[in-house]
Amino acid sequence: MAESTNRGEVARGLLLPEIYERHADFAWRTLRRLGVSEAEAGDAVQDVFLVVHEKLGQFEGRSSMTTWLFTICRTVARKRRRLAQQARARDADVSVEDELDLRADVARAAEHNERLALLENILSGFEVEQKNVFILFEIEKLTGEEISEALSIPLGTVYSRLQLARKAFRQALTRGEARERFSAERAGGAP
């Protein structure tokens, strides 16, 4: 589950097993959304928490745990994307941009498949900047400040991107609902 955590949560007592227990899913989702393949995601999660283990002493709650984890995930994902790109130099599909997307989520969750597929479909039409903010705010439930820090953008920019993304989200849903009504009427009208 998305768990947003407060500043300073990392008191001295918070240790690797607890952090892992709470945030492993977040790390996994984030890595997958940043383009790490399913096959590599386990290794990548491991990389992330080994960095946490190594740096925990220096961390001491300077940012929220989620923000910190996000930045580690981004570094790990970049490294893996770069390696994947080198390995498959001809593959034009490997992105070097930090773009979150939900294709991995769709592949994952059988029981939510339809809704996730729809959500992914809607978000895939967003501007990358808006989509990143929207996913972190509405799905991972980070705070505006956490997102500002994680993405290195001013808080005001977080809010304006969020507002635009929400508007786009609602418009897409309205269009989707209109299309559904339309096809339902057609289906009803032409037996």
């Binding site: 491991q46 799905i139 005001g156």
Partner: protein
Amino acid sequence: MSDPKHLTDDGADASDFERELLGAAQNVGLSAGEKRAIWTGIALQAFPAATASAAASGSLAPGAATAKAGLALGPWLKGLLVICGLAGISAGIYGWRHAAASRAQAAQVASAHAVVVASAPSAQVAPASDAPPATDVPSSAAVEAPSSASPATAASANQNASPAESKSALREESLAVLEIRHTLRAGDASGALGLLEQARQRFPRGALSQEREALGIEALAKSGARAAAARQADAFLRAHPKSPYAADVQSFQSH
């Protein structure tokens, strides 16, 4: 400026459908099995890393290094035990990275495990270091264990070991402490005390000695030797007032 409500929060201005869509993506995650397996991989690698860094910073006094490593690793082992289960460690070890390396580590862990179980002191030796002697301790478990095995592997555990040796020594020590904890949690307090004696001899200045002694105090109390447990708890807290195990140990002090 303050944040708007998240659309999936209670009271947010969002339709049920919007909530459902976003909620679907919030529930995506690792299966319990995957989570465990990844953790095992992390645990196996973070262990030696922790020892190496403690050993590398030669400026630290031995006592300080011990306390530091104990702080970093102690509650960690709890996590390892809770998440993996001791049986999982020896039987189903499975790291994500480099299958071969994992297999090698698994073999090491398994053999360390075997050493802990098999080797027993042939004579009762007074506990080393700062722990007060436990005179009224029933130690039947130590007597039951085979007394032929050699404690040789442990001798290399100390100061002059190479980094590789000290990594593996820490792994063995951590397994020994896990074994004590496991035995104690399984309700066998005297068995735990027997294992504790062995661990004291094998790792007299081990990085995990605080965790070990804290477990020993608990084992004493549970074996019925409450007075001895209280004395040891007092001594422990005098020696390590800021130990991460202080809170556990306090509950065994006499009131």
